[in-house]
Symmetry: C2
Subunit: 202 residues, 2 copies
Amino acid sequence: MKQEGRTAPGAPATLWDRTRQLASQEILETALRLFTEQGYDETTIAQIAREAGVSQRTLFRYFGTKEDLLGGDQGRFGQVLTDTIGEQPAEAGVWEALRAGVAAVLALHDSREQALERFRLLHNTASLRAGWLEKRLRFQEDLLPLVEARMGAAVGSADPRARAVVATAFACLDAASMAWVDNDGKGDILDLYDECLAAVRG
Amino acid sequence: MKQEGRTAPGAPATLWDRTRQLASQEILETALRLFTEQGYDETTIAQIAREAGVSQRTLFRYFGTKEDLLGGDQGRFGQVLTDTIGEQPAEAGVWEALRAGVAAVLALHDSREQALERFRLLHNTASLRAGWLEKRLRFQEDLLPLVEARMGAAVGSADPRARAVVATAFACLDAASMAWVDNDGKGDILDLYDECLAAVRG
DNA sequence: GTCAACTTGGCAGAGACTGTCAGAAGTAGT
DNA sequence: ACTACTTCTGACAGTCTCTGCCAAGTTGAC
Protein backbone atom coordinates (compact mmCIF):
# COMPACT_ATOMS: atom_id res chain seq x y z
CA MET A 1 0.00 0.00 0.00
CA LYS A 2 1.46 3.30 -1.05
CA GLN A 3 -1.20 5.96 -0.68
CA GLU A 4 1.12 8.91 -1.17
CA GLY A 5 -0.50 9.81 -4.47
CA ARG A 6 -2.56 12.60 -2.86
CA THR A 7 -3.88 14.11 -6.11
CA ALA A 8 -0.95 16.41 -6.73
CA PRO A 9 -1.77 19.52 -8.83
CA GLY A 10 -0.92 18.21 -12.26
CA ALA A 11 -1.87 14.77 -11.12
CA PRO A 12 -1.30 11.64 -13.15
CA ALA A 13 -4.74 10.77 -11.79
CA THR A 14 -4.54 7.09 -12.48
CA LEU A 15 -7.70 5.05 -12.17
CA TRP A 16 -6.53 3.81 -8.81
CA ASP A 17 -6.17 7.29 -7.46
CA ARG A 18 -9.65 8.23 -8.54
CA THR A 19 -11.15 5.04 -7.20
CA ARG A 20 -9.50 5.48 -3.85
CA GLN A 21 -10.61 9.08 -3.67
CA LEU A 22 -14.15 7.97 -4.35
CA ALA A 23 -14.15 5.12 -1.88
CA SER A 24 -12.60 7.27 0.79
CA GLN A 25 -15.21 9.95 0.31
CA GLU A 26 -18.04 7.44 0.30
CA ILE A 27 -16.84 5.91 3.55
CA LEU A 28 -16.36 9.28 5.18
CA GLU A 29 -19.81 10.52 4.25
CA THR A 30 -21.50 7.31 5.32
CA ALA A 31 -19.71 7.42 8.64
CA LEU A 32 -20.56 11.04 9.38
CA ARG A 33 -24.16 10.43 8.44
CA LEU A 34 -24.52 7.40 10.67
CA PHE A 35 -22.69 9.07 13.53
CA THR A 36 -25.03 12.04 13.53
CA GLU A 37 -28.08 9.85 13.01
CA GLN A 38 -27.52 7.33 15.76
CA GLY A 39 -24.45 8.45 17.68
CA TYR A 40 -20.81 7.48 17.53
CA ASP A 41 -20.79 4.62 20.02
CA GLU A 42 -23.98 3.15 18.62
CA THR A 43 -22.53 2.93 15.11
CA THR A 44 -20.38 -0.11 14.40
CA ILE A 45 -17.62 -0.43 11.88
CA ALA A 46 -19.50 -3.33 10.36
CA GLN A 47 -22.48 -1.12 9.66
CA ILE A 48 -20.45 1.65 8.10
CA ALA A 49 -18.61 -0.83 5.91
CA ARG A 50 -21.83 -2.50 4.83
CA GLU A 51 -23.58 0.74 3.94
CA ALA A 52 -20.52 2.11 2.20
CA GLY A 53 -20.20 -1.06 0.18
CA VAL A 54 -16.73 -2.13 1.24
CA SER A 55 -15.33 -4.80 3.52
CA GLN A 56 -14.29 -4.03 7.06
CA ARG A 57 -10.74 -4.82 6.13
CA THR A 58 -10.74 -2.23 3.38
CA LEU A 59 -12.29 0.36 5.64
CA PHE A 60 -9.49 -0.13 8.11
CA ARG A 61 -6.98 0.19 5.33
CA TYR A 62 -8.30 3.63 4.48
CA PHE A 63 -8.79 4.80 8.03
CA GLY A 64 -6.67 3.18 10.63
CA THR A 65 -9.13 3.71 13.45
CA LYS A 66 -12.76 4.48 14.02
CA GLU A 67 -11.88 7.92 15.30
CA ASP A 68 -10.20 8.75 12.03
CA LEU A 69 -13.60 8.53 10.41
CA LEU A 70 -14.40 11.81 12.03
CA GLY A 71 -12.22 14.78 11.37
CA GLY A 72 -11.38 13.69 7.85
CA ASP A 73 -7.78 14.49 7.10
CA GLN A 74 -6.38 15.40 10.48
CA GLY A 75 -2.88 15.28 9.14
CA ARG A 76 -3.59 18.53 7.37
CA PHE A 77 -4.55 20.27 10.59
CA GLY A 78 -1.12 19.85 12.04
CA GLN A 79 0.52 20.76 8.76
CA VAL A 80 -1.42 23.99 8.33
CA LEU A 81 -0.84 24.86 11.94
CA THR A 82 2.92 24.54 11.89
CA ASP A 83 3.19 26.10 8.43
CA THR A 84 1.17 29.15 9.36
CA ILE A 85 3.01 29.76 12.58
CA GLY A 86 6.34 29.25 10.89
CA GLU A 87 5.42 31.87 8.30
CA GLN A 88 4.62 34.56 10.84
CA PRO A 89 7.07 37.47 10.83
CA ALA A 90 9.87 37.23 13.33
CA GLU A 91 8.77 40.35 15.17
CA ALA A 92 5.35 38.86 15.90
CA GLY A 93 5.00 37.68 19.47
CA VAL A 94 4.22 34.10 20.48
CA TRP A 95 0.56 34.81 21.07
CA GLU A 96 0.08 36.57 17.76
CA ALA A 97 1.71 33.68 15.95
CA LEU A 98 -0.42 31.11 17.75
CA ARG A 99 -3.55 33.10 17.02
CA ALA A 100 -2.71 33.14 13.35
CA GLY A 101 -2.29 29.39 13.42
CA VAL A 102 -5.60 28.86 15.13
CA ALA A 103 -7.34 31.11 12.63
CA ALA A 104 -5.84 29.18 9.73
CA VAL A 105 -7.00 25.85 11.09
CA LEU A 106 -10.50 27.12 11.74
CA ALA A 107 -10.68 28.34 8.14
CA LEU A 108 -10.06 24.76 7.02
CA HIS A 109 -13.56 23.47 7.54
CA ASP A 110 -15.73 23.02 4.49
CA SER A 111 -18.73 24.81 5.91
CA ARG A 112 -20.05 26.25 9.13
CA GLU A 113 -22.61 23.46 9.31
CA GLN A 114 -20.08 20.68 8.93
CA ALA A 115 -17.81 22.27 11.49
CA LEU A 116 -20.68 22.58 13.93
CA GLU A 117 -21.69 18.97 13.36
CA ARG A 118 -18.19 17.72 13.99
CA PHE A 119 -17.60 19.86 17.04
CA ARG A 120 -20.91 18.81 18.49
CA LEU A 121 -20.13 15.15 18.00
CA LEU A 122 -16.70 15.68 19.44
CA HIS A 123 -17.79 17.45 22.59
CA ASN A 124 -20.67 15.11 23.30
CA THR A 125 -18.90 11.78 22.87
CA ALA A 126 -16.44 10.87 25.57
CA SER A 127 -14.68 8.17 23.60
CA LEU A 128 -14.13 10.56 20.72
CA ARG A 129 -12.87 13.40 22.83
CA ALA A 130 -10.16 11.21 24.28
CA GLY A 131 -8.69 10.32 20.93
CA TRP A 132 -8.99 13.85 19.69
CA LEU A 133 -7.16 15.25 22.67
CA GLU A 134 -4.40 12.76 22.20
CA LYS A 135 -3.98 13.70 18.56
CA ARG A 136 -3.94 17.35 19.48
CA LEU A 137 -1.18 16.66 21.92
CA ARG A 138 0.96 15.50 19.07
CA PHE A 139 0.31 18.76 17.25
CA GLN A 140 1.38 20.59 20.36
CA GLU A 141 4.65 18.72 20.48
CA ASP A 142 5.30 19.53 16.84
CA LEU A 143 4.71 23.18 17.58
CA LEU A 144 7.10 23.23 20.48
CA PRO A 145 10.35 24.10 18.69
CA LEU A 146 8.69 26.96 16.82
CA VAL A 147 7.32 28.44 19.99
CA GLU A 148 10.53 27.93 21.91
CA ALA A 149 12.42 29.82 19.26
CA ARG A 150 9.99 32.71 19.48
CA MET A 151 10.21 32.80 23.24
CA GLY A 152 13.96 32.88 23.25
CA ALA A 153 14.20 29.67 25.19
CA ALA A 154 16.80 27.03 24.64
CA VAL A 155 15.24 24.68 22.10
CA GLY A 156 14.78 21.16 23.40
CA SER A 157 15.61 22.06 26.96
CA ALA A 158 13.55 20.93 29.91
CA ASP A 159 11.98 24.38 30.07
CA PRO A 160 8.26 23.80 30.54
CA ARG A 161 7.19 27.31 29.61
CA ALA A 162 6.80 26.82 25.87
CA ARG A 163 4.70 23.73 26.43
CA ALA A 164 2.52 25.64 28.85
CA VAL A 165 1.98 28.45 26.38
CA VAL A 166 1.03 26.13 23.54
CA ALA A 167 -1.27 24.10 25.74
CA THR A 168 -2.93 27.26 26.96
CA ALA A 169 -3.66 28.38 23.43
CA PHE A 170 -5.32 25.06 22.71
CA ALA A 171 -7.20 25.19 25.98
CA CYS A 172 -8.66 28.52 24.94
CA LEU A 173 -9.56 27.14 21.55
CA ASP A 174 -11.32 24.29 23.28
CA ALA A 175 -13.29 26.54 25.57
CA ALA A 176 -14.17 28.76 22.65
CA SER A 177 -15.39 25.93 20.45
CA MET A 178 -17.47 24.47 23.26
CA ALA A 179 -19.15 27.80 23.85
CA TRP A 180 -19.66 28.11 20.13
CA VAL A 181 -21.42 24.75 19.99
CA ASP A 182 -23.53 25.69 23.00
CA ASN A 183 -24.63 28.74 21.06
CA ASP A 184 -25.51 26.59 18.03
CA GLY A 185 -22.76 28.11 15.95
CA LYS A 186 -23.75 31.70 16.44
CA GLY A 187 -20.93 34.23 16.30
CA ASP A 188 -17.28 33.72 15.50
CA ILE A 189 -15.10 31.17 17.23
CA LEU A 190 -12.11 33.42 16.92
CA ASP A 191 -13.83 36.16 18.88
CA LEU A 192 -14.56 33.68 21.63
CA TYR A 193 -10.97 32.58 21.50
CA ASP A 194 -9.81 36.15 22.04
CA GLU A 195 -12.21 36.49 24.91
CA CYS A 196 -10.84 33.36 26.55
CA LEU A 197 -7.27 34.41 26.15
CA ALA A 198 -8.07 37.81 27.62
CA ALA A 199 -9.67 36.15 30.62
CA VAL A 200 -6.63 33.95 31.16
CA ARG A 201 -3.95 36.53 30.63
CA GLY A 202 -6.01 39.42 32.01
CA MET B 1 -21.86 -5.48 43.93
CA LYS B 2 -21.86 -2.70 46.44
CA GLN B 3 -18.33 -1.51 46.94
CA GLU B 4 -19.22 1.61 48.86
CA GLY B 5 -17.76 0.26 52.08
CA ARG B 6 -14.55 2.25 51.66
CA THR B 7 -13.10 1.56 55.11
CA ALA B 8 -14.62 4.53 56.87
CA PRO B 9 -12.67 5.73 59.94
CA GLY B 10 -14.46 3.78 62.63
CA ALA B 11 -15.11 1.09 60.10
CA PRO B 12 -17.08 -2.07 60.71
CA ALA B 13 -14.26 -3.59 58.70
CA THR B 14 -16.07 -6.73 57.76
CA LEU B 15 -14.10 -9.60 56.32
CA TRP B 16 -15.39 -8.70 52.88
CA ASP B 17 -14.08 -5.20 53.17
CA ARG B 18 -10.65 -6.41 54.17
CA THR B 19 -10.55 -9.04 51.46
CA ARG B 20 -11.54 -6.56 48.81
CA GLN B 21 -9.00 -4.06 50.05
CA LEU B 22 -6.35 -6.75 49.81
CA ALA B 23 -7.36 -7.99 46.40
CA SER B 24 -7.59 -4.47 45.05
CA GLN B 25 -4.12 -3.67 46.33
CA GLU B 26 -2.68 -6.88 44.96
CA ILE B 27 -4.13 -6.20 41.53
CA LEU B 28 -2.94 -2.63 41.55
CA GLU B 29 0.60 -3.53 42.50
CA THR B 30 0.82 -6.35 40.00
CA ALA B 31 -0.45 -4.08 37.26
CA LEU B 32 1.96 -1.26 38.04
CA ARG B 33 4.85 -3.69 38.21
CA LEU B 34 4.04 -5.30 34.86
CA PHE B 35 3.38 -1.95 33.22
CA THR B 36 6.77 -0.60 34.19
CA GLU B 37 8.50 -3.87 33.38
CA GLN B 38 7.15 -4.42 29.89
CA GLY B 39 5.06 -1.40 29.01
CA TYR B 40 1.36 -0.68 29.17
CA ASP B 41 0.34 -1.85 25.72
CA GLU B 42 2.41 -5.00 25.99
CA THR B 43 0.70 -6.06 29.20
CA THR B 44 -2.61 -7.85 28.78
CA ILE B 45 -5.44 -8.01 31.26
CA ALA B 46 -5.16 -11.77 31.17
CA GLN B 47 -1.58 -11.60 32.39
CA ILE B 48 -2.34 -9.20 35.21
CA ALA B 49 -5.26 -11.31 36.36
CA ARG B 50 -3.20 -14.48 36.24
CA GLU B 51 -0.31 -13.04 38.21
CA ALA B 52 -2.60 -11.36 40.70
CA GLY B 53 -4.45 -14.62 41.23
CA VAL B 54 -7.92 -13.51 40.22
CA SER B 55 -10.12 -14.07 37.22
CA GLN B 56 -10.39 -11.51 34.46
CA ARG B 57 -14.01 -11.04 35.35
CA THR B 58 -13.17 -10.13 38.91
CA LEU B 59 -10.46 -7.78 37.81
CA PHE B 60 -12.93 -5.89 35.70
CA ARG B 61 -15.30 -5.76 38.62
CA TYR B 62 -12.71 -3.97 40.70
CA PHE B 63 -11.41 -1.73 37.95
CA GLY B 64 -13.80 -0.99 35.17
CA THR B 65 -11.13 -0.40 32.56
CA LYS B 66 -7.48 -1.12 31.95
CA GLU B 67 -6.65 2.53 32.38
CA ASP B 68 -8.09 2.50 35.85
CA LEU B 69 -5.29 0.17 36.84
CA LEU B 70 -3.02 3.13 36.66
CA GLY B 71 -3.82 6.13 38.76
CA GLY B 72 -5.40 4.05 41.52
CA ASP B 73 -8.39 5.82 42.91
CA GLN B 74 -8.97 8.60 40.42
CA GLY B 75 -12.29 9.39 41.95
CA ARG B 76 -10.42 10.85 44.90
CA PHE B 77 -8.49 13.23 42.69
CA GLY B 78 -11.59 14.99 41.59
CA GLN B 79 -13.02 14.98 45.08
CA VAL B 80 -9.95 16.48 46.70
CA LEU B 81 -9.69 19.00 43.93
CA THR B 82 -13.21 20.36 44.23
CA ASP B 83 -13.17 20.16 48.03
CA THR B 84 -9.94 22.09 48.36
CA ILE B 85 -10.98 24.78 45.95
CA GLY B 86 -14.35 25.08 47.58
CA GLU B 87 -12.69 25.59 50.96
CA GLN B 88 -10.54 28.49 49.83
CA PRO B 89 -11.49 31.81 51.39
CA ALA B 90 -13.84 33.95 49.36
CA GLU B 91 -11.30 36.73 49.01
CA ALA B 92 -8.79 34.42 47.33
CA GLY B 93 -8.59 34.91 43.58
CA VAL B 94 -9.32 32.22 41.02
CA TRP B 95 -5.69 31.48 40.41
CA GLU B 96 -4.85 31.18 44.09
CA ALA B 97 -7.74 28.80 44.59
CA LEU B 98 -6.76 26.67 41.61
CA ARG B 99 -3.16 26.56 42.79
CA ALA B 100 -4.29 25.32 46.17
CA GLY B 101 -6.29 22.59 44.49
CA VAL B 102 -3.37 21.52 42.37
CA ALA B 103 -1.12 21.41 45.42
CA ALA B 104 -3.60 19.25 47.30
CA VAL B 105 -3.84 16.76 44.46
CA LEU B 106 -0.10 16.53 44.09
CA ALA B 107 0.19 15.81 47.80
CA LEU B 108 -2.02 12.78 47.28
CA HIS B 109 0.66 10.51 45.87
CA ASP B 110 2.09 7.90 48.18
CA SER B 111 5.70 8.65 47.38
CA ARG B 112 7.84 10.65 45.03
CA GLU B 113 8.97 7.44 43.33
CA GLN B 114 5.48 6.17 42.71
CA ALA B 115 4.38 9.52 41.38
CA LEU B 116 7.35 9.62 39.05
CA GLU B 117 6.67 6.12 37.82
CA ARG B 118 3.05 6.92 37.09
CA PHE B 119 3.76 10.20 35.38
CA ARG B 120 6.43 8.61 33.27
CA LEU B 121 4.12 5.83 32.16
CA LEU B 122 1.42 8.35 31.48
CA HIS B 123 3.47 10.67 29.36
CA ASN B 124 5.12 7.90 27.38
CA THR B 125 2.05 5.85 26.47
CA ALA B 126 -0.27 7.37 23.93
CA SER B 127 -3.22 5.12 24.71
CA LEU B 128 -2.97 5.99 28.37
CA ARG B 129 -2.66 9.69 27.86
CA ALA B 130 -5.88 9.74 25.89
CA GLY B 131 -7.91 8.21 28.65
CA TRP B 132 -6.27 10.34 31.28
CA LEU B 133 -7.01 13.53 29.42
CA GLU B 134 -10.61 12.54 29.05
CA LYS B 135 -10.95 11.86 32.75
CA ARG B 136 -9.31 15.15 33.54
CA LEU B 137 -11.81 16.88 31.33
CA ARG B 138 -14.54 15.62 33.59
CA PHE B 139 -12.77 17.10 36.60
CA GLN B 140 -12.61 20.37 34.77
CA GLU B 141 -16.34 20.35 34.18
CA ASP B 142 -16.95 19.66 37.85
CA LEU B 143 -14.77 22.60 38.76
CA LEU B 144 -16.58 24.94 36.46
CA PRO B 145 -19.32 26.23 38.79
CA LEU B 146 -16.81 26.92 41.55
CA VAL B 147 -14.59 28.92 39.25
CA GLU B 148 -17.48 30.74 37.66
CA ALA B 149 -18.66 31.85 41.07
CA ARG B 150 -15.21 33.18 41.91
CA MET B 151 -14.97 35.02 38.62
CA GLY B 152 -18.29 36.70 39.10
CA ALA B 153 -19.68 35.17 35.94
CA ALA B 154 -23.21 33.96 35.52
CA VAL B 155 -23.07 30.31 36.55
CA GLY B 156 -24.04 27.95 33.79
CA SER B 157 -24.01 30.58 31.11
CA ALA B 158 -22.34 30.14 27.76
CA ASP B 159 -19.43 32.21 29.00
CA PRO B 160 -16.30 30.38 27.90
CA ARG B 161 -13.94 32.26 30.19
CA ALA B 162 -14.19 30.04 33.25
CA ARG B 163 -13.58 26.97 31.14
CA ALA B 164 -10.54 28.59 29.62
CA VAL B 165 -9.11 29.47 33.02
CA VAL B 166 -9.57 25.98 34.39
CA ALA B 167 -8.14 24.37 31.28
CA THR B 168 -5.17 26.68 31.44
CA ALA B 169 -4.42 25.68 34.99
CA PHE B 170 -4.43 22.04 33.97
CA ALA B 171 -2.35 22.79 30.93
CA CYS B 172 0.29 24.31 33.17
CA LEU B 173 0.14 21.33 35.49
CA ASP B 174 0.67 19.10 32.48
CA ALA B 175 3.65 21.04 31.23
CA ALA B 176 5.09 21.11 34.73
CA SER B 177 4.73 17.39 35.29
CA MET B 178 6.27 16.61 31.92
CA ALA B 179 9.28 18.76 32.70
CA TRP B 180 9.46 17.14 36.10
CA VAL B 181 9.58 13.69 34.53
CA ASP B 182 12.20 14.85 32.05
CA ASN B 183 14.29 15.91 35.02
CA ASP B 184 13.84 12.50 36.67
CA GLY B 185 11.80 13.95 39.49
CA LYS B 186 14.29 16.54 40.56
CA GLY B 187 12.81 19.67 42.12
CA ASP B 188 9.24 20.49 42.97
CA ILE B 189 6.37 20.19 40.51
CA LEU B 190 4.62 23.11 42.12
CA ASP B 191 7.57 25.39 41.42
CA LEU B 192 7.44 24.35 37.79
CA TYR B 193 3.73 24.98 37.80
CA ASP B 194 4.29 28.52 39.03
CA GLU B 195 6.91 29.03 36.38
CA CYS B 196 4.51 27.89 33.67
CA LEU B 197 1.72 30.07 34.88
CA ALA B 198 4.05 33.05 35.00
CA ALA B 199 5.10 32.39 31.43
CA VAL B 200 1.49 32.22 30.30
CA ARG B 201 0.14 35.17 32.23
CA GLY B 202 3.37 37.17 32.16
C1' DG C 1 -28.37 -23.63 61.42
C1' DT C 2 -30.74 -21.06 57.99
C1' DC C 3 -31.39 -17.80 54.84
C1' DA C 4 -30.20 -13.66 52.52
C1' DA C 5 -26.56 -10.73 50.83
C1' DC C 6 -22.51 -10.66 48.66
C1' DT C 7 -18.65 -12.27 45.80
C1' DT C 8 -16.39 -15.06 42.49
C1' DG C 9 -15.18 -17.59 38.24
C1' DG C 10 -16.32 -19.32 33.81
C1' DC C 11 -18.52 -18.89 29.58
C1' DA C 12 -20.25 -16.72 25.61
C1' DG C 13 -20.28 -12.79 22.88
C1' DA C 14 -19.78 -7.93 21.02
C1' DG C 15 -16.74 -4.76 18.95
C1' DA C 16 -12.26 -2.68 17.38
C1' DC C 17 -8.40 -3.94 15.17
C1' DT C 18 -4.34 -6.87 12.80
C1' DG C 19 -1.89 -10.48 9.97
C1' DT C 20 -2.16 -13.23 6.15
C1' DC C 21 -3.23 -14.84 1.79
C1' DA C 22 -5.44 -15.82 -2.49
C1' DG C 23 -7.30 -13.56 -6.18
C1' DA C 24 -9.12 -9.58 -8.81
C1' DA C 25 -7.99 -5.41 -11.21
C1' DG C 26 -5.10 -1.90 -13.05
C1' DT C 27 -0.56 -0.80 -15.35
C1' DA C 28 3.41 -1.30 -18.28
C1' DG C 29 6.58 -3.62 -21.55
C1' DT C 30 6.89 -6.08 -25.72
C1' DA D 1 -2.82 -8.86 -27.36
C1' DC D 2 -0.07 -11.29 -24.23
C1' DT D 3 2.62 -11.24 -20.28
C1' DA D 4 4.76 -9.74 -16.05
C1' DC D 5 4.40 -6.64 -12.36
C1' DT D 6 2.27 -3.76 -8.92
C1' DT D 7 -1.65 -2.43 -6.34
C1' DC D 8 -5.79 -3.25 -4.20
C1' DT D 9 -9.62 -6.05 -2.20
C1' DG D 10 -12.28 -9.41 0.48
C1' DA D 11 -12.39 -13.26 3.50
C1' DC D 12 -10.86 -15.64 7.42
C1' DA D 13 -8.94 -16.33 11.71
C1' DG D 14 -7.23 -14.46 15.70
C1' DT D 15 -6.09 -10.93 19.64
C1' DC D 16 -7.61 -7.90 23.15
C1' DT D 17 -10.74 -5.09 25.94
C1' DC D 18 -14.98 -5.21 27.99
C1' DT D 19 -20.01 -6.86 29.22
C1' DG D 20 -24.02 -9.88 30.47
C1' DC D 21 -25.33 -13.96 32.56
C1' DC D 22 -25.45 -17.81 35.64
C1' DA D 23 -24.01 -21.31 38.85
C1' DA D 24 -21.34 -21.98 42.87
C1' DG D 25 -19.00 -20.53 46.88
C1' DT D 26 -18.37 -17.42 51.07
C1' DT D 27 -19.84 -14.33 54.63
C1' DG D 28 -23.06 -12.09 57.66
C1' DA D 29 -27.43 -11.61 60.32
C1' DC D 30 -30.92 -13.75 62.82
